[in-house]
Symmetry: C3
Subunit: 222 residues, 3 copies
């Protein structure tokens, strides 16, 4: 079995920092979800549901896996308010997002970075090993987008050509590395989140992608 990495103890300012990053991630993820729902012309409440699930699905899965019940996204009113605010802004001030060529992808990238580091940290905090922390940090980051894309019948982001899950994996990995090496708990999450967001946005801008798996002919689906 893999060794448990003790999470660096956080002082109260750092705890506030992590909670703020998590709620900020919920807010930007809900904007990405609401934008995607608006493009599908869902009604008001359908848009709110997609915004909420985009923001919360990854964290709910993480909390179920680490035994943090009830999942914080269900229990804490601040997350609900953050996602309602995100949905409301998209509904009532859609012109704010006209400057973005790809608003879904942009706000999704911001959430990706914050969720990856906070998700990894929470798994460590609950006493799990580095592998669990990296995998669940990644799952927290990508989970909401997967649910959004399945419900809206979009091609899931994690299966697209641009670098996506690798970015989340990098963010979660840096966070776990920082805990292992005893880096500052104030500095590490910014490094991890920035690396993740930067990789994702640059890969979108420049069309970076990993090599394709090749195949000569398709098996008939059965």
């Amino acid at each position: 079995m893999l060794p448990i990495i003790p999470a660096i103890p956080l002082d109260s300012i750092e705890r506030t920092l992590y909670a703020s990053a998590d709620i900020t991630a919920a807010f930007v993820a809900s904007i990405s979800g609401a934008q995607a729902a608006r493009q599908r012309r869902l009604d008001l409440f359908g848009l709110i549901i997609i915004a909420y699930l985009t923001a919360m699905a990854g964290g709910i899965f993480r909390d179920l896996c680490i035994g943090a019940l009830p999942p914080i996204g269900l229990a804490d009113w601040r997350y609900l308010c953050a996602t309602l605010a995100g949905g409301a802004i998209v509904l009532y001030a859609p012109q704010w997002f006209d400057r973005f060529k790809h608003p879904v992808a942009f706000f999704d990238a911001l959430a990706l970075g914050f969720y990856a580091v906070v998700g990894a940290q929470k798994a460590l905090f609950y006493g799990h090993n580095a592998q669990v922390a990296i995998l669940l940090g990644t799952a927290t980051a990508v989970g909401g987008g997967v649910v959004r894309d399945i419900l809206l019948a979009r091609i899931p982001n994690i299966l697209r050509k641009e670098i996506y899950a690798v970015a989340a994996l990098t963010g979660a990995g840096i966070q776990v590395l920082g805990n292992t090496l005893g880096w500052s708990a104030t500095f590490t999450p910014w490094l991890g989140a920035s690396a993740c967001i930067l990789i994702r946005l640059l890969s979108l801008k420049y069309g970076w992608h990993l090599p394709l798996s090749r195949t000569e002919d398709e098996e008939p689906t059965r």
Copy 2:
């Protein structure tokens, strides 16, 4: 954090009432799932699977989130029998449903109401706050239909124009309100379930819907 609302203690008759409502919900939900599967011409066992998942998926998710393990839908033979009965009726007496113009939607609406109140009550009973109870009551009610629709590649009910999740939310909300204000535990669930079912059926009949989110142009999917 939000305050915990203590669930009103139930006497043995009321406990039987709630259990009966839950099993009835499983039965009618399985009919809705089996009808949808039959429309897709699935085989006998595929139909049973869809009937079972339509009836159980929401409750399994609720039980995972509140820590009621193993989920009652997996462990209790009465739920399995109720869903098998629902599937069998659709298989062997399909003519019983010929009078219904939209059998999937009709039986789905009945399950929606019962599951919303029972789901909310169970979350309160496990010591969770009002927000958790309302959200998980709603999730119990809509979860099975979402899984059914994803597996059968139907447009998920929660994303359609008619009022659906709002109805479940109303039912769960009334149930939580009843617990908060100390209403009778015999009366409250009927009020909540009836309100939910009525809203849903009327919205189907009269085409009620919430305002659409508007958008001028679609972002290319990426």
Copy 3:
């Protein structure tokens, strides 16, 4: 309530046997997932993700339901390595699979058998009743394929005409029967897994299927 069936105690050789069967199942399931991903021309990392989820999703669901946290597929490096190996073989030695007419279905069938018996055994080991063990053995076996097929927009295996979930149910059922009747813990899993794999492969080869549910006319989707 259903009676609890005490799992037959395993000696250390038998424990190794079960763990090996589980990791072998992860390996062959990841090959099936990677093959399906390659047919969709996913990139390298998308292929790895699908391989991992195909191998792990069923077991993660089982572990959440029985309260075995964190799910072993997330926590144990051997499962991660087995799925990475499966993905790498498909990526770098695809010609090994040219002899198989339906590589996805073939390796999926192997995983189906192993996962059904190991999943059922683990549920019994955690003190759950026969119904939970059979349902979760089946869910462990079919869960990964369902997630793979939803993400890749394939028709889910459990809804196709050939016998699939029935095979898994048979394997899990034999395993639970063996525990109930006190059969040898070395012999039972081989019997259950073989029966499951044989039923599945023969049904594919000879086009066996269960009777269809019939319907005269389709309800308009709404």
